[in-house]
Amino acid sequence: MAASVDKMVADQGIVGARPPQGAPNRAQSEKAEGALACRIALQDTFATGVLFAIVAAICALLFSLIAYIVASGAGKLFDVSFLTGKPEQFKEGGGIGPELFNSFYLLVLTLLISVPIALGGAIYLTEYAPKNRLTHFVKTAIEALSSLPSIVVGLFGFLFFVLQMGWGFSILSGALALTMFNLPILVRVIQQALEAIPNDQREGGLALGASRWETTIHVLLPAALPAIITGIILSAGRVFGEAAALIYTAGQSAPMLDFTSFDFSSASCPWNVFRPAETLAVHIWKINSECVVPDLDAVSSGVAAVLMVCILAFNLLARFVGRLASKNTR
């Protein structure tokens, strides 16, 4: 019985296996141990090599994608007339001026609407919510909202904001549809940031006589601020590149903007939230599906390059701000 167990253990090369019973001389058992150690080291090296190759492949894929997009769009990327020009449907030389402005305006509006709601929701869920079925249901609902396909969110926005509320294709409809998208990410990020603060801070605040609300506002939020800001900027990067939710809420037409007009009811006033607004991602989709301009490839690559550069800038900004803010609070 013991001999068969020993054989099984030795065959599988388990570390620390006893040398087979009945091995008479020391040299033979040492050689067996040496072979075992060699095999284990070989397995280790092989596994490390495979994992390293996988990571290298992923990095290579990412870099080649970024390099291809930026290189093919480089001609239009630095062309100021492209970045500020009017989009064309039938002629050459279209630009993306209105779309660029619309993307940033929509992003700022979405953040303005979603950050306070997400902050309130996350503070409630972390600090105040009792552990009962209602809280569990709310958390499940937030998770469900985040895994909806974006086209479904866009279609709901179309039915409700565009048709039912009567706003038509407008920036407001687009911003509200993107808020529905953005809320779960923000709530999760802020919740994680708040949960990472040790309980001593909360107890200290309460011990000093502050109420729970005062503790949250004056002690917890400043401590969690770097993580919250990083999360907001990362979610902004995601919202910036969103197309499917905006096609049927913010529309596919971009009226030419007149930055000197402050007539809030006209379609060419940039700050009017009830005008249709095509963003960069929607523009890529539209010109590849429907337009017949002669320089289609150049324009499409140019817009893709601009979008890629903006999103990379958002990611880098998030890391930079996070590092800066956490250095300041130390």
């Binding site: 499940t140 479904v152 279609l155 049927y248």
Partner: protein, 75 residues
């Protein structure tokens, strides 16, 4: 996805035949039909199907998570 899959209205019989996904059919079709026609109703039913599918997947994941949690935390 819409730009690479080909959007052919057929059941694919291999890995290299063009096909269409629910989302690409939706994106292309909603703008072209008037509300109230049968084709438009079909497209909205497709959207409902997508919604139902994502709820099913979420419940499956929750179920697995809860089962795993019970086993991990003991009796």
């Amino acid at each position: 996805m819409q730009m690479v899959i080909g959007n052919a209205v057929q059941v694919p019989d291999g890995l290299f035949t063009p096909a269409s996904t629910l989302t690409s059919v939706l994106t292309m079709g909603i703008g072209n039909e008037m509300m109230g026609t049968v084709y438009s109703d079909v497209l909205w039913s497709l959207a409902l199907l997508l919604l139902a599918m994502s709820f099913v997947f979420i419940s499956i994941i929750h179920f697995i998570e809860r089962k795993g949690g019970l086993n991990a935390n003991g009796r």
